[in-house]
Amino acid sequence: MTTTASIQEAFDCSRAQKRAALIPYITAGYPNLAQLEPLVHALEDGGADLIEIGIPFSDPLADGPILQKAASQALEQGVKVQQVLDAVARLKVAVPLLFLTYINLVYRRGIEEFIRDSHQAGISGLIIPDWPWNESARYQDWAYREGIALIPFAAPTSTDHHLDAIAKGHGFVYTVSVTGVTGMRTKVDAGVEPLVQRIRQHTTLPIAVGFGISTPEQARQTGMVADGVIVGSALVQALMDRPDQAPEVAERFVRTLRNAL
């Protein structure tokens, strides 16, 4: 099995169970890098189908206050890209792992090197919010052959032309539920369902929805229309409330969401 196939398998598996895949996000280095391994295992035990690991960046312009804070606390502790790669390489998990980070960290290491090193560490896909399709398209197929899906984005403002283009992408479509940044919101935007339906007319890739999904009820609602539900800020906020019990909090949090799907 190639690692990129495993993204598809994860979605196939949840679809066979007639539910959306659950994709939690954590920031590597929050509360500290030593917690990455127990946290990832806790997420897997809680029922995550895929896991996003954020590599902290100094200028996370797609993130709201919670994930900004997690990134800056990780960086204050001196977390380095190589340390994250090494920590991920030591993980023994069955679910596909994805990196979420910003383009400058990728570019600085060398785009090809970053992709190869991520694959070596056992990563299946990269989610780079500030690397839009026009800039990343020429790496799509090469990266896929190297075992890395460069996850394409769709937004409420996306044109039909863009949705046609990303049909040639790999992994899944990361759908941004609202115009805005990551963060907790009180309800699922009414535009999510028509947006997902619109994207489906253009691509057969699985569609996962993120940005603002915080509660089991919101996860359930989103899971009714999408193939995957991404939860980041609400989980990281729960860890911030009890950093001393991070793995236990993470497992409970993910299990509650999973039961709602």
């Binding site: 960046f57 100094s58 200028d59 996370p60 312009l61 797609a62 709201g64 206050p65 900004q68 800056s72 960086l75 380095k80 890209v81 383009i103 400058n104 960290l105 990728v106 570019y107 600085r108 290491r109 919010p129 500030d130 690397w131 839009p132 399709w133 026009n134 800039e135 984005f153 769709a154 937004a155 409420p156 403002t157 996306s158 044109t159 863009h162 941004v176 115009t179 805005g180 940044v181």
Partner: protein
């Protein structure tokens, strides 16, 4: 001399630099902006309206005159392009008038901007007031405290000022916050970027609006002397005043000198000499040079001049450096301060600390310039009233 090609290309590239590195949510807005700008650029009624505003509201053309006492002190002719005489006291307003006019033409109802010490914020608030549009300005929390007068100026002009506490609370974090606002309110909001930075089409659009400086200067200098200057010297932070004066001279036999801030010294790590370091990186939507660590984490910049205190630089400057069309040098805080005093005493002009960097480079290199029989044109990008408090404090208060 190698001919500089028309840039950027359709993807917003200046050679390897530039591009559009922003979230997908913003891509359609950038495409809308690009086509609105391209249409406006070709539309004589837009151009006439903008030129009328520059003439009757901003006070252009700004004078270009030989600085006779500087000339006498240094031993070769030195000329000043007086952007400090614009309404609001700096070149910033050339750009904000253009962008806000475009925003109003596009039917956008809300204007946002980032600002460091407040110059671009004041220039944006001014243009927004003139057009009856609501402006919201993001400014670092520390600067909101330090630059209380500029905050009050923006409020007088009807703008709302948001203090940014995120990250290091400097201009780069303020820019992040403005981008976050834009990505959230993209449908009705126009983001007025203050320099030749950001995703395409901003570096091109801001360059075009600021090129009025160089177009005027080219005509004025030829009328005055019958020829070209040998050197044009301008300060570079993000790079809008320097690109504005360089660009119309790019095909001419003129040395273009961009002066960055060396802060406390390049070796101290406390500087803003992005092109001098020349490490490629991506920040705020474009690939250019960037102050960063070995992982690519962006490093805070330092300069006594708030307008130069930015860890990135416009992608077209990176391109000019890459192909050798412009030369980039750096000047320390202390050198800039001495030039600040010299220009005040020699010419009766208190320059902005940004502009003082350009003056300082000319003074520092006066022997070589005299030998070359140089005729030097300095872009005096802004007036120094805003810096008087900071200089006084730096020098230990009134004696």
């Amino acid at each position: 001399m190698e001919r500089v090609k028309a840039m950027p290309d359709n993807a917003g590239r200046f050679g390897p630099f530039g591009g559009q590195y922003v979230p997908e949510t913003l891509i359609p807005a950038l495409n809308e902006l690009t086509s609105a700008y391209v249409q406006a650029k070709a539309d004589t009624s837009f151009q006439r309206e903008w030129m009328d505003l520059l003439k009757d509201y901003v006070g252009r053309p700004t004078p270009l005159r030989q600085a006779y006492r500087v000339t006498k002190e240094l031993g070769f002719p030195v000329y000043l392009k007086r952007e400090d005489l614009n309404h609001t006291g700096a070149h910033k307003i050339n750009n904000t008038m253009g962008q806000v006019l475009l925003a109003s033409r596009m039917g956008k109802t809300r204007i946002i901007a980032e600002t460091g010490a407040g110059q671009h914020g004041v220039a944006t608030a001014t243009a927004a007031a003139l057009f009856g549009l609501k402006a919201e300005v993001y400014m670092g929390a520390e600067d909101v405290k330090r630059q209380a007068l500029n905050v009050y100026r923006m409020r007088l002009l009807g703008a709302q000022v948001h203090a940014v506490n995120a990250g290091t609370s400097t201009l780069k974090d303020t820019t992040n916050e403005a981008i976050r606002d834009w990505v959230t309110n993209v449908r009705d909001t126009f983001y007025v970027i203050g320099s030749v930075v950001g995703p395409h089409p901003y570096p091109m659009m801001v360059r075009d609006f600021q090129s009025v400086i160089g177009r005027e200067a080219r005509g004025q200098f030829r009328r005055l002397t019958g020829g070209f200057p040998t050197h044009i010297v301008a300060p570079v932070g993000g790079g809008s005043n320097s690109m504005g004066i360089f660009y119309p001279f790019r095909q001419d036999p003129v040395a273009l000198i961009g002066v960055e801030a060396a802060g406390k010294g390049i070796d101290t790590g406390h500087h803003a000499a992005t092109i001098t370091k020349a490490e490629r990186g991506i920040l705020h939507g474009s690939l250019s040079y960037l102050l960063q660590d070995e992982d690519g984490q962006v490093q805070p910049a330092h300069s006594i001049s708030a307008g130069l205190d930015y860890p990135g630089v416009g992608p077209e400057h990176a391109y000019f450096h890459h192909i050798g069309r412009a030369q980039y040098v750096s000047i320390t805080d202390d050198e800039a301060l001495r030039a600040f005093h010299h220009l005040a005493e020699w010419e009766g002009i208190i320059p902005a600390l940004e502009s003082a960097h350009a003056v300082a480079w000319v003074i520092k290199n006066c022997d070589a310039l005299r030998e070359q029989k140089a005729r030097v044109l300095i872009n005096l990008s802004g007036r120094g009233d805003k810096d008087v408090d900071a200089v006084l404090e730096y020098e230990g208060g009134l004696q």
